[in-house]
């Protein structure tokens, strides 16, 4: 097997690193988490010329090697540790052509680590709109590096970049800055104390606030080397930054011309409107409304098609396979369970398409800014905004993202309230219940169903803010963190990047949730198909005797229903029915509630399996049909407006996610908080669902 070239993509946030990564790797990528930390790691393979392959690692965005957050620590740790399996043979520093000066600080720092560096000046296609021109040969000479102009859509510079990667051994590793110019005495003595160590690497280790790897400040002290105080080190760091900017300014003065008269600027105007204290919120509200409307409009046809296809597949399975329990398990458990998740692919994909477009255009950063303004009034710090907004995808990474909140109480409050925001796992439950109980029709062109979905999202967010306000009073936080966020330039989204993001996220949703749903569906099917005692095993005789004098009674259906009620699952469901009856739920919904503790999406699959077992028709029904035709013994419908709204509210507030509880335990290092969270959220959910059902009923 030929050796792969290890390439790290490094750069400031918002320089289009991921676009470049997508252009290099296409779909040959995988997303994981760095061990023990919050940050996402993207890896991919890029085919180069002469059959050589490159292993591309997309590192989190960082402004410099002076770490202040976990993301930045990660980049530094990797670049300092030659033994790390991901240590790069060559680093591609991605910079934004509009922020070249600031971006080059990181470039000079990495070059000083003597790692071969290629400078990719990204978004070069925007140069003409910004009146920027670059003299590349001159800049290459001044910066002593290979420079490639690239564009976000991958149409520019990719083949040159690949060629450069193949020939990385020819790249100069001469440092940009002579460290002795910062403080001659200090760096000379450092150099003599550690003659075998690389000087800049030593300096990075010493100057960091945190210790990295095995070379920490304490061990340096032991070796008779007098380290400086923190304030002196900070002063040296400032001097280093000034030296770097002097070097960069000299290079850019010769190689870069910016003619602002030629620049076409719309950013300031757009920012003024989109972050306006009234219009900003109004626009955001309209955008959300449009997204939810479109999710409903566009996904109803594929959703119905998938639903019917799975019902047909289940019927077909029963037809062609020999009759028996395994065939029943396949048709009623496995196919129904898988159908319960696949049916939501269209909506999930559409939701991720819109979120991805909002992120790509740079609008999401404006939303964070808008929300920061609201949250401050309720005692949440600006830094809580990002976890709360990212909680709309999944609460787990959102809770882990609270680690950059320095104040413990603020962090705790954010952790405790984040599960209220509507995560993507709630979406399937909302969609199916809304489709069942909310009437069709529209208000000002927006369907009632889309409005309900939007209200649920706002309710979740509102509840998070309200709980934070209450917790803030109880826990009494005084110190506040401040959010510093860079507003990226507005960009037209690159279709390839949007599609790759949607594909990755939908795949992860379907596969991760799908495996749990499948396993739970199988267990539930067995529990619903077997039962103890005579009532279950002798159901045929009991029902035949009971109904022998009645005509027009579907005996088969009565037997199936009797067996289901006396199956293991029926017994469990019936035992919890008294608790959930006041909320308008029957025992089957109760089973759905219990099963969805594993993951909320399991709810729909669970009901699909239970109803499928109770169905005696030759033709399997779709999930929606089964749910809408479900009736109590008196003939009244199970899913009515009252019970549906009650269920929606229950899911909006309840802590139905074991993984989230586990992560809260991990992050707070105690069972106290997740248990409190579970009890309080469930109580709120119960009370709200109870009140809504009693009023609407």
């Amino acid at each position: 097997m030929s050796k792969q070239i290890k390439v790290s993509l490094i750069g400031n946030p918002n320089t289009g690193k991921t676009s470049l990564f997508n252009a290099l790797t296409g779909l040959n990528q995988k997303v994981g988490n760095y061990p023990g930390i919050t940050v996402e790691k993207k890896e991919g393979i890029c085919k180069l010329e002469r059959g050589v392959k490159a292993h591309i690692l997309d590192l989190p965005g960082t402004y410099s090697l002076n770490a202040s957050s976990i993301d930045e620590n990660l980049v530094i740790e990797l670049l300092l540790n030659k033994n790390d399996k991901d240590f790069p043979d060559v680093a591609v520093i991605v910079s934004d052509v509009e922020n070249l000066k600031r971006n080059l600080v990181l470039f000079t720092q990495i070059k000083d680590l003597k790692i071969p560096v290629i400078l990719a000046v990204n978004m070069a296609d925007r140069m003409k709109y910004k009146g920027i021109s670059l003299d590349i040969p001159l800049l290459e000479k001044e910066l002593d590096a290979k420079i490639i102009l690239t564009s976000r859509d991958g149409s520019l510079g990719i083949s040159e970049l690949k060629e450069c990667i193949v020939n990385f051994k020819q790249i100069s590793t001469k440092p940009s800055i002579d460290l002795s110019l910062i403080d001659e005495n200090y760096f000379n003595s450092l150099s003599s104390a550690f003659p075998n160590q690389d000087l800049y690497k030593l300096w990075v280790v010493i100057s960091q606030d945190a210790n990295f790897g095995k070379m920490d400040r304490n061990s340096l002290d032991i070796l008779d080397f007098k380290t400086k105080s923190t304030s002196e080190l900070k002063r040296l760091q400032q001097k280093e930054t000034i030296k770097r900017y002097q070097f960069i300014n000299n290079a850019l003065r010769l190689g870069q011309v910016i003619d602002s008269s030629k620049a076409v600027g719309y950013r300031a105007i757009l920012d003024r409107i989109l972050t306006h204290k009234i219009y900003g919120y109004l626009i955001f509200f309209i955008i959300l409304l449009a997204i939810f409307q479109v999710i409903y409009d566009w996904s109803s046809v594929p959703m119905d098609l998938i639903d019917t296809a799975f019902a047909d597949l289940a019927s077909y399975t029963k037809e062609v396979l020999p009759a028996g329990v395994m065939t029943d398990l396949l048709a009623e458990g496995i196919i129904a369970g898988i159908g319960g998740i696949v049916i939501f692919i269209p909506q999930i994909a559409f939701l991720f398409i819109f979120i991805s477009i909002l992120e790509e255009t740079g609008y999401m950063s404006r939303v964070v800014f808008l929300m920061d303004r609201v949250m401050r009034k309720y005692g949440l710090s600006g830094k809580s905004v990002v976890p709360l907004i990212s909680g709309t995808a999944c609460a787990i990474p959102a809770i882990m993202a609270t680690r950059n909140i320095e104040n413990w109480k603020e962090r705790l409050i954010t952790i405790l309230v984040t599960p209220f925001t509507t995560c993507s796992a709630r979406l399937p439950v909302y969609l199916i219940i809304i489709a069942l109980v909310i009437p069709e029709g529209s208000f000002l062109g927006v369907s009632y169903q889309a409005l309900t979905l939007m209200m649920l999202y706002m309710l979740g967010f509102g509840m998070a803010i309200f709980s934070a306000y209450i917790l803030n009073k109880i826990l009494k936080t005084n110190r506040k963190s401040f959010l510093v966020i860079e507003m990226p330039n507005y960009k037209v989204p690159v279709l390839r990047d949007v599609l790759i993001t949607v594909f990755e996220k939908t795949k992860s949703f379907v596969l991760e949730a799908g495996k749990i749903i499948l396993a739970i569906s199988i267990i539930l099917w067995v529990l619903a198909s077997y039962g103890p005692g005579e009532n279950f095993n002798d159901a045929e005789n009991i029902i035949t005797e009971k109904f022998e004098k009645f005509e027009n009674i579907n005996i088969e259906s009565e037997i199936a229903s009797h067996k289901l009620e006396h199956s293991y699952i029926g017994i469990i469901g019936k035992s919890i029915e008294p608790i959930i009856k006041p909320l308008g739920y029957d025992w089957k919904i109760g089973i759905g509630l219990i099963a969805s503790f594993a993951a909320r999406e399991v709810f729909v699959g669970t009901l699909a399996t239970i109803y499928s077992v109770g169905n005696t028709d030759d033709v399997e029904s779709t999930i929606k049909e089964s749910m809408s035709s479900e009736v109590y013994s008196d003939g009244s419908k199970v899913f009515t407006l009252a019970s549906g709204i009650s269920l929606l509210l229950f899911y909006a507030f309840a802590m139905q996610c074991m993984s989230t509880l586990a992560i809260v335990k991990k992050e707070t290092n105690s069972w106290k908080w997740p248990l409190l969270q579970l009890i309080i959220m469930t109580l709120i959910a119960y009370v709200v669902a109870f009140i809504s059902f009693q009023i609407l009923n």
Binding site: G32, P322, V325, M326, I396, S508, I522, S659
Partner: protein, 43 residues
């Protein structure tokens, strides 16, 4: 035939139960790659 089907159902059930128990760390098995357990669950 019915016995074979019953056995298949039993095996499928066993695999599902083991999968769920391992997924939520109720029984041992594959240790999480992450040193402190973060990243488990969602990914």
């Amino acid at each position: 035939m019915n016995i074979i089907q019953e056995i298949l159902v039993g095996i499928t059930l066993l695999i599902s139960v083991i999968y769920i128990l391992r997924k939520y760390n109720i029984i041992g098995g594959k240790k999480s790659k992450c040193s402190d357990g973060n990243g488990c669950g969602c990914n």
